[in-house]
């Protein structure tokens, strides 16, 4: 048949198929296909000869079974709690808890000095300079880093004193409150300077405090650790650079 056949609607009966073309032949689309596929499955479609597939909108399609890479020129948007499921890949010998990558986000946060157990503000009128404080969240794993410095000697907030334990608050996500499942996570101090009465033998370190949005600062002593107290960061230009990974439940 050499002439064209124009069909507005093809409505097969339930359970029947519409076949276009013949075995060994092909169907050529010289124009565009508009409208949407609202349900069902596309399967068994040969991608041979399709070098790049640009797909703007896929609506209601449950399965795409293709043997070639698919290129998408828009964002791939997941519903909340959904993501990329890696369960088809081989697992490690350890206990696997999840193979769904369901979140990614990056941004900034605002560090502040706090009492780590209570989140109470430690200093007032401190002129804290935040050179840098950002985060990256991948799944439920959060990476934070910061570089902060006080510009002038601090005054202690009401009820606080130099002997109080010192922490850094303002973390962008709450630290998981089930550390026996999600782990205990340390921070890494890469630089610090101008701390008051700091001994050369002290090594600052710390950890993310479960159930809070705080970091507890400690230093190593013989066979253990001692809390870093508020007096050490009291003087002008005292500063710290730190980073670390922790788990959140959100």
């Amino acid at each position: 048949m050499s002439s064209n056949l124009r069909v507005n609607n093809i409505l097969p009966s339930v359970g029947t198929n519409v076949a276009i073309g013949t075995a060994g032949g092909s169907v050529t689309l010289t124009g565009s296909v508009s409208g949407s596929i609202t349900s069902g499955t596309i399967s068994g479609v040969s991608t041979a000869g399709i070098t790049t597939a640009y797909i703007n909108t896929l609506s209601g399609i449950s399965t795409i079974d293709a043997s070639a890479a698919v290129s998408i020129n828009q964002n791939l948007v997941f519903a909340s709690g959904k993501g990329i499921d890696f369960s088809a890949t081989a697992n490690s010998s350890g206990t696997m808890t999840s193979e769904l990558l369901s979140d990614y986000e990056r941004g900034t946060w605002t560090p502040s000095f706090v009492q780590p157990a209570t989140s109470a503000n430690m200093y007032v009128n401190n002129g804290l300079t935040i050179y840098h404080a950002d985060y990256v969240k991948i799944g439920n794993l959060v990476y934070v880093s910061c570089y902060i410095q006080n510009d002038a000697s601090f005054s202690y907030d009401t009820g606080r004193s130099g002997t109080d334990s010192l922490g850094i608050g303002g973390l962008p996500f709450t630290v998981s409150n089930t550390p026996t499942d999600s782990g205990y996570h340390p921070i890494y101090v890469g630089y610090f300077n101008n701390w008051t009465s700091w001994s050369a033998s002290y090594t600052p370190m710390g950890y993310f405090t479960a159930g809070t949005n705080n970091i507890t600062l400690v230093y190593a002593v013989l066979n253990g650790i001692t809390n870093i107290t508020a007096t050490y960061m009291y003087s002008s230009n005292s500063n710290i650079i730190l980073s670390g990974w922790y788990r959140t439940d959100s």
Binding site: E105, R106, G107, T108, W109, T110, P116, A117, S119, Y135, G170, L171, P172, F173, T174, N177, P179, Y184, Y207, T209, A210, G211, T212, N213, T216, D249, S250
Partner: protein, 83 residues
């Protein structure tokens, strides 16, 4: 061509123990259309000072943070020995 900066609280998340995670979206708009954006986050624990918080966050916190919720949150911290 008008450029405008705008900050909106675009996500409020309530956790099981009553913590409220707040995400602020800082946008740059060109003729009313977003051309760039960054996120900033902070967390409010049960009983936190709500001064300066977004009204929607305050409404949620005031409804959520009963004395029982605050007490339970504090007890959960102590159960972990503040580690």
């Amino acid at each position: 061509m008008a450029l405008e900066e705008k900050s909106v609280v675009d996500k409020i998340e309530v956790l099981l123990e009553g913590q409220i995670q707040v995400r602020t979206k800082n946008q740059v708009l060109k003729d009313g259309k977003e051309i760039a954006a960054t996120f900033h986050r902070h967390v409010l624990n049960p009983g936190s000072d709500l001064t300066g918080q977004d009204p929607k966050v305050v409404t949620i916190a005031e409804a959520l943070w009963t004395p029982e919720v605050i007490a339970a949150y504090q007890a959960s911290l102590e159960s972990n020995n503040n580690l």
